[in-house]
Subunit: 325 residues, 2 copies
Amino acid sequence: MKAFVTGGAGFIGSHVVDRLIEGGNEVIVYDNMSTGIEDFISHHYENPRFKLTQGDVLDLKKLSQEMKGADIVFHFAAHADVRSGFNDHKIDLEQNLIGTINVLEAMKEGGVKKIAFASTSSVYGDAAIIPTPENYPFSPTSLYGSSKAAAETYIATFCEYYNMTAYIFRFVSWVGERYTHGLVFDFLNKLKKDPSTLHVLGDGTQKKSYLYVKDGVDAIFTIIEKSKEKMNIYNLGNDEIINVTDSAKVIIDEAKYKNVKLVYEGGDKGWIGDNKYVLLDTKKLQSLGWKASKDTREGLRITTRYLLDNPKIVKKRNEKSIFKI
Amino acid sequence: MKAFVTGGAGFIGSHVVDRLIEGGNEVIVYDNMSTGIEDFISHHYENPRFKLTQGDVLDLKKLSQEMKGADIVFHFAAHADVRSGFNDHKIDLEQNLIGTINVLEAMKEGGVKKIAFASTSSVYGDAAIIPTPENYPFSPTSLYGSSKAAAETYIATFCEYYNMTAYIFRFVSWVGERYTHGLVFDFLNKLKKDPSTLHVLGDGTQKKSYLYVKDGVDAIFTIIEKSKEKMNIYNLGNDEIINVTDSAKVIIDEAKYKNVKLVYEGGDKGWIGDNKYVLLDTKKLQSLGWKASKDTREGLRITTRYLLDNPKIVKKRNEKSIFKI
């Protein structure tokens, strides 16, 4: 199988690439390297089944050219920083929605019939049903969530128009090796600057679940192998939730900081558009035989160790500013 | 109240304008007149509470300027031809989604806190639950449906970010006075050219419900008056459904054509992206005390008579090509 992976040099995308290469597939990574990291894919550079193309999903011409002949597209390129959409209204629209529409147009042009898409639990917003099932209606509270929800609706229509098949993964936050943005990253950055005090956004009671990256990648390939609908929509998450204060304590403990004072700021939510309680119903995924190997706390510890053990990656990621058009 | 009505010179928009003026409100119609018809609003030209501004929702600068001081926006400007999106992928995205995002940005700029939005039953696609309730997840099968579903997700986020209130109306097809596109319009146009044979898209078994425009406008104002959520999402439709063959027979009968042969073409669906069976669950709307005054067949008869009695309007509408950017 020839797989085309947008965002294949990113955190999740590069793990998908590893799994594809392990499985004997041909892989083309299409990444603008705005937040992607070469170290995540450079171990494949000598492999003749691997190719890296630096390109942007907003460049439809190049995207179409490079995608030709692919059997499946893993569309993982995205602007993944949920918070920043509040101050920059265009970034999610362009990077996530228009980017996805371009991927679909390129698939149509090239006759590519399968898409695996990184969606998000943010499409549900502050869901009234917890754990939230897949048939819960979209009610996003962030432009990140809107752009991903909107992208899903475009995927649905392209599947109808052009007889495509879609695998849609609605993720909670992922953790694990190559994790390079989000709560653990931010907390460790802050602790490095000031080991005595950790400023926490929100009141610490926001509850989230985190999915360990290798479990998430298992889920992706389980779904693609076993789910046989036209639109295969699955929640991906962990059954265990943890509040932000406890997450901070796990990270502080794993990083061996002592006597850190937690200071809460910004009201009850972490930021405008944040969801206070994210827990997905993953019964549909579990019915395919998938089970998480790591719980939320283990995932946070692995991530903490990874970031402490890889200061060069942290430095590189800190140097990459959020990509702007 | 000062109301800003995009698409206010269109079929539904102009009825909303009538009702607003009757209610003693100030009204600014903002319409690019691409498919709007002056005759639908010209009876208000002498009214000091009425103003027409020719402008496009894609012109954010003008939109923001003109919207200033409004208490509520009725966003009814749209590309409403469901079929054409298959051949022109940009038109729904630009006219419906980007147009709506511009309306939201202009509201944010001007501090306007209420939006009433014309959405569509097409957001549900080929729903597995009939009649389809509001909490049915989005699964559109047309770019028209995608663009409206996507627009709803952006409205949800703007409501969260900027403390706005939204009234979202998911319509079936409307019929009645000033109806200027869709099934009745197409059938009468075809019958005028050839009164012996009517070519019907699909196999005639597609079932739809139609809402009489004055009932629909009653529903809109009932919802705005009585519904008190942040996001007030309502299906608007008629409990009675009718298949396309029977619709054709009603129209032929009302127009007094005799011995018309029906010829079916294009497979079981009317067109790619069409939904074979559209019936909305309107219990939520009915719980506010609303009830339709006309059933689907009466609506079709009124529409047929209206089009036959207003050949000048039909001519004007036929002359207006579908707006392209």
